[in-house]
């Protein structure tokens, strides 16, 4: 990590404007090296076309009566105010999908933060088989959801291995077709699948926690658990803010898992997600305006959650 700390210092120095430098270029309007703008142009065009414009388009669509029309056909798409939002909020299936993703986040986010921090702390101190262990934890992350979903269906089916081991404790109906268990099972699947990435983030953050702090804590008589809570946890706080944000954003985007694990959000919509509803309403049923309104509500929800998390986790002082 020392390398990147050094490079950050370099970055800090280089961002100071070259005021009164000995060799001023002839294009002060575009900066000292306008060539940089040329090099970045393809990327900037990409960001504008694939992120900025669609983002504006999504908001615009959610306030208009938008429908699919033949390419090139001039059709009237009247402004309808909040009609799309009213339609979304009056639809119990969509409301349920928002509730489901809430349940999902309540399980997935804390589990992700706690498990990845604990495993990263243990991995950081492990000496033997470190490579093997690290690889083992991120193999699920690099594998396609579609591939591992097959195994989970097999493992968690009515007479699957998990139920065979649990015997009489197994829930009935089985996990993925049980209204109470479908969403928690998906949340555990996603936690398992993404944990490796968050472990890597925490491992990087742990390199920044000074060894002296641990020594000081142990001189003051703090045990292992005490020093974990008073040195490690505050030391990796910026990483925790990031893990909270990223796992909330990924969680809110849940689609593939309910689509495949529970056959499209079943049973009875108990595991449907807002993005799954966006797909069904927008593409399958041809109401992209309703889908855009779901998306806007989802993003506002994520922003509120991110704001609350930031307040609770203490923002990034680093």
């Amino acid at each position: 990590m020392s390398q990147s700390t050094a490079s950050r210092t370099v970055a800090g120095r280089s961002t100071t404007p070259p005021g009164g430098g000995p060799r001023r270029r002839k294009h002060p309007l575009l900066g000292k090296n306008p060539f940089g703008l040329l090099l970045s142009a393809p990327y900037l065009i990409f960001v504008l076309a694939v992120f900025a414009y669609p983002l504006v388009f999504a908001f615009w669509m959610s306030f208009h009566d938008y429908f699919f029309a033949a390419p090139g056909a001039a059709v009237d798409r009247p402004f309808v105010g909040l009609d799309n939002f009213r339609e979304v909020l009056a639809d119990p299936a969509i409301i349920r999908s928002f509730g489901n993703v809430g349940v999902f986040l309540l399980i997935n986010v804390p589990l992700t933060v706690i498990l990845s921090l604990m495993l990263a702390t243990a991995l950081n101190k492990a000496v033997r088989f470190r490579t093997f262990l690290r690889v083992a934890y991120y193999v699920p992350y690099v594998t396609a959801s579609v591939a591992v979903v097959g195994v989970w269906i097999f493992l968690f089916s009515g007479n699957g291995l998990v139920n065979q081991i649990l015997g009489p404790l197994a829930p009935d109906p089985a996990w993925l077709i049980n209204e109470d268990w479908a969403m928690p099972t998906i949340a555990i699947f996603v936690t398992w699948k993404g944990l490796g990435f968050f472990i890597l983030l925490y491992l990087a953050a742990l390199q920044n926690v000074s060894e002296e702090l641990y020594e000081a804590a142990s001189t003051d008589g703090a045990g292992r658990i005490r020093s974990f809570f008073s040195v490690t946890v505050p030391g990796v706080r910026p990483a925790t803010v990031l893990v909270l944000l990223l796992s909330t954003v990924t969680g809110a985007n849940l689609f593939t898992e309910p689509y495949l694990l529970t056959g499209g959000g079943g049973p009875n919509g108990a595991s449907s997600s807002p993005v799954l509803m966006m797909y069904q309403r927008g593409i399958e049923q041809g109401s992209p305006d309703t889908a855009a309104a779901i998306g806007v509500i989802l993003v506002i929800g994520v922003l509120i959650l991110a704001f609350i998390q930031r307040k609770l986790a203490g923002g990034d002082e680093s």
Binding site: V148, V151, F154
Partner: protein, 277 residues
């Protein structure tokens, strides 16, 4: 630190790792079983119940080779765009001073938290309807074309190169294009493998976007055709689980093998700097 605690930590980490790896082991075993055996004994290989038929079965329903090829074109296209344009932006962000640099860097960070799903409907309207790029490799690649994490990793690498190196070349009279070609590009090689690995995971594993935009089976990446098989027609196979798991092994193998071979390049520092900026 006591010996007991070390052993305890080792045990916890090893048990955790086995829990993480077990589904993969089970995927391979399941793909080789003649009859699906969900009992505890079925988790161990039983020579009497082993077969490669499931691979033939899934291949007769979805063309595995075509699927792999489509996934490869989709992933390869994204990697190509990312490497070519990512290097240029990364260099410009780290070593050149131009107006808009701060904004560009902020954008590269910001787009990583924009939920793709909000953009899904407008992008579908634009790419599939307006540009007519449905069932087209370019339409698949476009939304992922330049990976912003890769841009930030390139920037990070270029920041580590002393600025003096470039300034010296400038004083010697080298033009910007020449500096880029002769100094910057040769230096970035170590970052390439990290970027390729990191970029690979996205499109290779992506399901939603190619699923929306490809209806024609011969153009679908393997993740999409396998998912369609899983959700529609799996019930008609002789051993549906075996066939699905065989397909899953084929889909997972390239990513897993790549990361086993090059795991040294997928290290915490790179990824951390990539996301933190």
């Amino acid at each position: 630190m006591s010996r007991g605690q070390n052993i305890l930590r080792g045990v916890v980490l090893t048990v955790g790792a086995l829990v993480f790896l077990f589904p993969f082991y089970y995927m391979v075993i399941g793909s080789l079983q003649k009859e699906p055996d969900p009992t505890v004994a079925g988790a161990f290989p039983n020579p009497a119940n082993l077969t490669l038929d499931n691979y033939g079965d899934i291949n007769s329903r979805i063309n595995l080779l075509q699927g792999l090829l489509n996934s490869g074109i989709f992933t390869g296209g994204v990697i190509l765009f990312t490497v070519v344009f990512g290097v240029l932006v990364g260099y410009a962000l780290a070593q050149l001073q131009w107006r808009g640099r701060g904004v560009t860097f902020a954008l590269a960070l910001l787009v990583q938290v924009v939920p793709f799903q909000l953009l899904m409907i407008p992008l579908y309207v634009m790419i599939a309807r307006d540009y007519g790029l449905a069932d087209n490799y370019l339409g698949m690649i476009l939304p992922f074309a330049i990976n912003s994490t890769a841009v930030i990793i390139f920037r990070q690498y270029f920041l580590q190169i002393p600025k003096d190196l470039f300034d010296a070349a400038r004083i010697d009279g080298a033009g910007e294009l020449r500096i880029l070609r002769r100094i910057a590009l040769p230096l970035v090689r170590p970052a390439l493998l990290t970027v390729v690995l990191l970029t690979f995971i996205g499109p290779w594993n992506e399901f939603l976007w190619p699923f929306l935009i490809t209806k024609e089976a011969s153009l679908q990446p393997l993740a999409v055709s396998l998912a369609n098989y899983l959700s529609n027609i799996a019930a008609t196979a002789a051993n549906p689980f075996g066939a699905v798991l065989a397909g899953a092994c084929v889909l997972a193998a390239p990513a897993v093998i790549l990361f086993l071979l090059f795991q040294r390049h997928f290290v915490s520092n790179n990824i951390g700097s990539g996301v933190k900026g």
